[in-house]
Structure formats: structure tokens, C-alpha cells
Amino acid sequence: MSFNPKHLLGIKDLSADEINFILDTADSFKEINTRQIKKVPTLRGKTVVNLFFEASTRTRTSFEIAGKRLSADTVNISASGSSVVKGETLEDTAKNIQAMHPDIIVMRHNASGACQYLADRLDCSVINAGDGMHEHPSQALLDAFTIRQHKGSIKGLTVAIVGDITHSRVVRSNIYCLTKLGAKVRLAGPGTMLPTGIERLGCEVFNNLEDAIRDADVVMMLRIQRERQGTPLIPSVREYARFFGLNGNKMELAKKDAIVMHPGPINRGVELGTAVADGPQNVILSQVENGVAVRMALLYLVAGGEKLQDDC
């Protein structure tokens, strides 16, 4: 089995074999990050443009480090401080970047489908680093990688995801990814943050945290995204923390060896109590560490293979 995609826009269209191939590739790249000289020549001469229309520290840095460790040249463009603020359209911005012959554009955008839109119009490869409320595939892959690392296998695990399900692209990608790999996915959040019909993606929906995390192997907490909400969906952050925040007591409902995950950045005292955020069960920094290896695998798989032969 090999997997040789031109773009990586979402998890929805990937098969379980393809997801596992990406995770296995990441496993091989992980070792580079622990070397004294953290660089291999694999993507020498390739140019990766990180085009970020939304604020990001973790994802952008992670993609940048991943590219650099593979010897690609990486360039970062963020919306503030670019021609976007001068009124340029997405397509014009992208075409101007394409004129400089990058091999891969890694894009984050606030509009769902923006990455697909670019992939349809550009010659270079596009990797989705988060588009609106649609998908965030590299996050779901690093989550799956981290679960596999701590639990051995994903098949048969119960994963509870708690928070703002409606606005979360991380959830969408994780539901696709985890169900394809054979996990049972449970969702929980306040009614205003649970989209109708989400159970059709193959998950169970709960309206309280306790039932969702009971006997779970993995508890994934989401950040309350104040910047993505128009009208308030919760009466107050304090009330949310009380009902849907994870603290040490509630954590006892999950399996004894359960792990706690969070895509970051965490709101301490809101979705995660300090006891849990700093507790032994949390694998949040391991998620960040694995993110670099997973993104190395994505850059490598998208750049490799025959599809770009003319450019070599």
C-alpha cells in the first residue's frame, strides 16, 4: 500500500488504509525530531508557503518546523501585514503566490471550502491547515497518532469529545478519522453548540459531560472559541465551566487509564481545570510534539510521487 495524494484537504475522503499509511509514515519521521542534527534532505529544493488568514501559533510553527526539518524552504504569510488587508481577493493572492512557483501551499482560512477552492485553481499542492467550520485534517491525524501511541490501537476505543461541536473543524475531522479507524465517538456540549443531525456521521450525542465521558478511553476537550461565535451560545463562561469543564472529580468517571486531549490553546479554568490540565493523564504536549512528525509526513506524501515529475 502506498498513498500519493496531490492535496490534503480533509479526512472525509480518505480510507482507513490511507490514514494508517500517513500515521505509519509519521512514525518513521518522528525519530528525526530527537536527533542532534534535526534535518534530512528529503524535500531539498521544494518551497512551502504557509498562508494563514487566521491567527495561529501551534499549527503554523508546526508546519514551518516540519518543512525545515525536511530541508524545504518555508515562507510564512499572515493576513495581517499582507496585501489581504489592502483588499486583494483570495484568488488574486493565491495566483500571485503561485507566480513565485511554490510546491505546496499550506492554508488556513476562515471560510469553509477555501482550500478546495484554491486546489481547483492552482497547479501546486494545497494542504488544509483549517478552513472555517469544515475540516482541520492535520489536527485529527496528530490526534489519532497520539491516541495510537498511548493506546496501541484505535479500534474499539471510546472517545468522548466535549465542547462547541458546531463551530469546531477539529471535531468534524476527528469524527471522520476516528470512526474510520474503528473508534466509538461520543459528543457532548450545551444544546446550542450541538448541530442537529451530527449523529448521522456515526457518533453518539449526549447533552451532559458526565454521561459522555463515563468509561471513555479518551476524553478530548475543545476550546470555547469566543472569536468564532456571533451571538453568545452560553449564558456565561462560569456556567459553562461548571457544567462542561473537566475537573479531577469528573475525570474519575472515565476509565482509570484514560487520556485527556486538547487541540490547544487551552482556556485554563474553563474547559480544563488546572488539576486535569497539569495532571498525569493529559497528553496535550505529546499532541504538539507529534504534530511536527505528522506534518512532516503530510508534506512528504504531498510532494512525493510522480505527480510533480515535471518539476523535478
Binding site: 502506498s2 512528504y300 510522480e306
Partner: protein
């Protein structure tokens, strides 16, 4: 399917060749001091493990054994369709060591070039030597093995296949002619 399959070495032949290579490595390096074996995934890694056993039988000490995957160092990223990357496992220091790279078949030399690049990134060895079970010719780079199981002039379109059993012990070498 190949039209013709010719046996070049049987299991005893492979075993004798590896025994001789083990002795040559020890003779050339005057023992096992600072000596490490690094097999190139996958065939070379199996052979390196067999060589480790041979050396251990002679000297009574296990030399260190590592496995290297050269995919990340190859020069054909864009013309390859199989993008699988294996793991590199070298849990010891390479600095100032005498490294014997082990592979099953030596052909163009490109894999060895990649392996040398990979090894040098992990540390600066004292020297790098090359042990090969079958040298089939057609070099495209100035690379020459130090230890050779069998020299076998081949045509370019022929294939050399090393068979391993389920214990990863080399059982035979075959020439496949179309």
C-alpha cells in the same frame, strides 16, 4: 513471472559467504573494537543480524547492530510511486565508530550513497565500509564494496532476488531472467 529462474546460491552457499565475510571484517578491522554493523532496510538489515551472529560466534561478543532506512535520502522523490518510509533504529553513538554498512544486492550504488548520507547525519564515523551479499555490477556512482559474497555479472533487465525464511535468515539467491 520471470521466464527463467537460476539459483546462484543455496542456503549453504549463503551461509558460507556470510561466514567468510564475517572473518574478513574481523581481519580487516583487527577485531571488533569500535566496530558496528548497520543494515539497510529490509534485506540488508536481516543480513546484518546474521553477520552479527557470525561475529559473535567467532569473537564471543555481540557487536552493535543498527537498522537504517534510506528513503528520506533517496534522489528519486518525484519518480517513485511507493512512498512508504521505514524506521531507522540506531540506538548508539556513531561518532568515531567503524561502520560496516550491509546490503543484500549492490546495483547502481544509489542506495549506498543515500545510506552514507543518512549515516553521516547521525554522527561522524571513523570510516564506513560496505558488505554486500551479491554485487551485480552496473554502477552509476563511484562506489566499491569492501566485502562481497558473490560477484555476479548481470544484464540490466535481469533481477536478483534474495529469499529469506520466516526467521529472516537468507535461504537462497536467485537470478530472474525474462
Amino acid at each position: 513471472m520471470a521466464a527463467e529462474v537460476i539459483e546462484i546460491l543455496d542456503s549453504e552457499g549463503v551461509d558460507r559467504a556470510l561466514t567468510r565475510i564475517a572473518h574478513e571484517i574481523l581481519e580487516h578491522n583487527k577485531g571488533i573494537e569500535d566496530l558496528v554493523l548497520i543494515g539497510i532496510r529490509t534485506g540488508g538489515a536481516y543480513l546484518a543480524a546474521q553477520l552479527q551472529q557470525k561475529i559473535s560466534a567467532i569473537e564471543g561478543v555481540d557487536v552493535q547492530l543498527g537498522i537504517i532506512d534510506v528513503t528520506m535520502y533517496r534522489d528519486d522523490l518525484c519518480s517513485r510511486n511507493d512512498l512508504a518510509v521505514g524506521q531507522t533504529d540506531i540506538p548508539f553513538r556513531l561518532r568515531d565508530q567503524k561502520i560496516v554498512l550491509v546490503d543484500d544486492v549492490l546495483f547502481t550504488g544509489r542506495t549506498i550513497r543515500a545510506a552514507m548520507g543518512a549515516v553521516m547525519d547521525l554522527g561522524r564515523p571513523q570510516n564506513i565500509q560496505l558488505a554486500i551479499l551479491v554485487d551485480r555490477g552496473h554502477r552509476e556512482l563511484p562506489i566499491r564494496p569492501d566485502y562481497i559474497g558473490r560477484n555476479l555479472p548481470t544484464a540490466r533487465n535481469e533481477q536478483i532476488k534474495v529469499d529469506f525464511d520466516d526467521q529472516n535468515t537468507a535461504q537462497a539467491v536467485h537470478l530472474l531472467r525474462n
